[in-house]
Symmetry: C2
Subunit: 356 residues, 2 copies
């Protein structure tokens, strides 16, 4: 089986970290008998510089004809003053998600024993934290109708949180299925005590639940979830929620980890999934071999799991990273006294050694 991967390094450290994930995928391929083709495309600021467009038509075409997409990071100060629709994030990421029908953002939050001291939360609070946040990505408040009205000098502005049953159903099903590969617990987060859209969300979860009898379903209000993420994050397995709540909670949950350099993400929905680190292009350290490649390598592991159903291969990568951290190797973002500082490539070398 050959998997066709569209490779979009993008800007800043993207060009340094994406090749590291490719090295790991190639090693996994050799070990488990998978083969990959990697085809590079332009996206973001570098695409603007070379073609005038943040998302060139050829890149979109490449993505459509691939089995999965590996993205680095996009944007940087060089392109911040462009008109909004040309800016890398708005001009590339949003249309890419839209064109590919990527309605679900998946953010694992797994804490590593070896890094537990690096979080602002206490080690014993973090122990055993291993959750996946599934955020609806194309509906709700950010995409509903919005506007402004001026009545006798009084401005009114509004946004609409709108969801339809099919929009809720597809992401909730994805969440049930994800929980099925994991610890079989699903927590749906809403504000059903006050929001009508949340009541429809909760009814939909409850209507689908009998189809997944092995999954234990709970509901939690979003304000309580924001407390529980800090109080006892180990209680969660899979969390599913709408767009705005997921935006807030997934960024909050990122602090349970030692560094943004550890956080992978996937955007799913259509026939091709997009995998990228949760961090940005970090122009301040670009070109210095300082970037932590782990988030991108873990994103490649998610690709194996979510797009190719290669769960054992994904677990092997995760275990290799766990081992490298336990042996004390650290990039600058997670460096502590007494550990061994390594650069981007050296960190990957260590991961490959574990996989060998």
């Amino acid at each position: 089986m050959t998997y066709r991967i569209a490779v979009l390094p993008g800007d800043g450290i993207g060009a340094e970290i994406v090749p590291q994930a490719i090295r790991v995928l190639e090693a996994i391929g050799a070990k488990y008998g998978l083969s990959f083709t990697f085809t590079e495309g332009l996206i973001g600021g570098i695409a603007i510089d070379k073609t005038g467009q943040p998302l060139p038509a050829e890149t979109l075409e490449l993505c459509r004809n691939s089995d999965a997409i590996l993205l680095g990071a996009i944007g940087g100060p060089k392109w911040d003053d462009l008109p909004t629709h040309l800016r890398p994030e708005v001009g590339a990421l949003l249309p890419l998600r839209k064109e590919l029908g990527l309605y679900a953002n998946i953010r694992p939050c797994h804490t590593y024993d070896a890094l537990a001291d690096a979080s602002t939360l206490k080690k014993e609070v973090l122990a055993g934290t291993d959750m996946v946040i599934i955020r609806e990505l194309t509906g709700g408040l950010y995409f509903g109708s919005k506007g402004r009205e001026d009545i006798d000098g009084v401005q009114k502005a509004w946004d609409t949180m709108l969801y339809s049953t099919p929009e809720i159903e597809r992401i909730v099903r994805l969440a049930f299925e994800t929980a099925g590969h994991r610890r079989k617990k699903l927590c749906s987060v809403d504000k059903a005590n006050v929001l009508e859209s949340s009541r429809l969300w909760r009814e939909t979860v409850n209507r689908l639940a009998p189809e997944y009898p092995d999954i234990a379903v709970t509901h939690m209000y979003v304000d309580n979830a924001a407390m529980q993420f800090i109080r006892n994050p180990g209680q969660f397995d899979v969390v599913v929620t709408e767009n705005t709540f997921g935006d807030i909670l997934s960024d909050q949950a990122s602090m349970l980890s030692a560094s943004l350099g550890m956080l992978a993400s996937a955007s799913l929905g259509g026939h091709v999934g997009l995998y990228e680190p949760a961090h940005g292009s970090a122009p301040d350290i670009a070109g210095q071999k300082k970037a932590n490649p782990i988030a991108t390598i873990l994103s490649a592991a998610m690709m194996l799991e979510y797009s190719f159903n290669r769960v054992a291969e994904a677990r092997a990568i995760e275990a290799a990273i766990e081992a490298v951290l336990a042996k004390g190797f650290r990039t600058g973002d997670i460096m502590e006294a007494g550990k061994t500082l390594v650069n981007t490539e050296e960190m990957t070398d260590r991961v490959l050694e574990e996989l060998a």
Copy 2:
């Protein structure tokens, strides 16, 4: 000067903690030459039991004719099965806020050195945390038009986040003024990169800022704020935000404290402010003298500061509590090995000793 206080103990531990705050107010009055009249009214479950109504007309009238309201807590399992409009929270608190025009909820979040070990965050992360969250309470997503439509078997449900300039202006002014009594930093939290209502919010903040030249204003996106509250809470002084974001962030911030039993709150806006602990009626420990009275005593201190502009008196109460904690006195909710367990009244006795 005599201040007329409406006293609404409510349900559960409310009847135990409210008298403690009154004792402290009386001591402050004797020391600083203020006098108070305290008039009790019924609210919540106990009001349902005695009058059939969670917010009797006499209680509302009492509140209207007072200078401030001291509330305990309302609700409990006994009244949970009543129809929604009769339930203590929906039937009493929402109409009370509405009738009194209380559009701003104020939640201080101050961490005590003596209790820093009790939070799930590391002591060094919490050091120096002393912020006030000002949440808009009567607009936004929870109160905008909402509904549901069934088109060919597809349900759609929506809620509207709506704000007008005057609604934003009044709460933002309150936030600027609050920052003026404090460390003179105001952080306005929104999602102006995607929401039109947030753009109007941010424009309004920026338009008013020149009127408060001594206040340093910053803007932060809500997802980033949820990260920063855990990453470095000491960076905040006054935070102002709309209803839903404030609901999530203030509950999240409550985890920075050692216990809900430490958290005061105020609801302001009209001519009479409402002061109450952030915790509930705790029916499980009611009547056992176990409740922590500090949140209610701190709410009385907020009353002195926000309703009566008696800032020195408020600071004296806060300092007394700090001293009592430093001496090792603890109610059950904040008890640790090596400290002295005290009951509700004994904790207040210690505070009064410090004030003497």
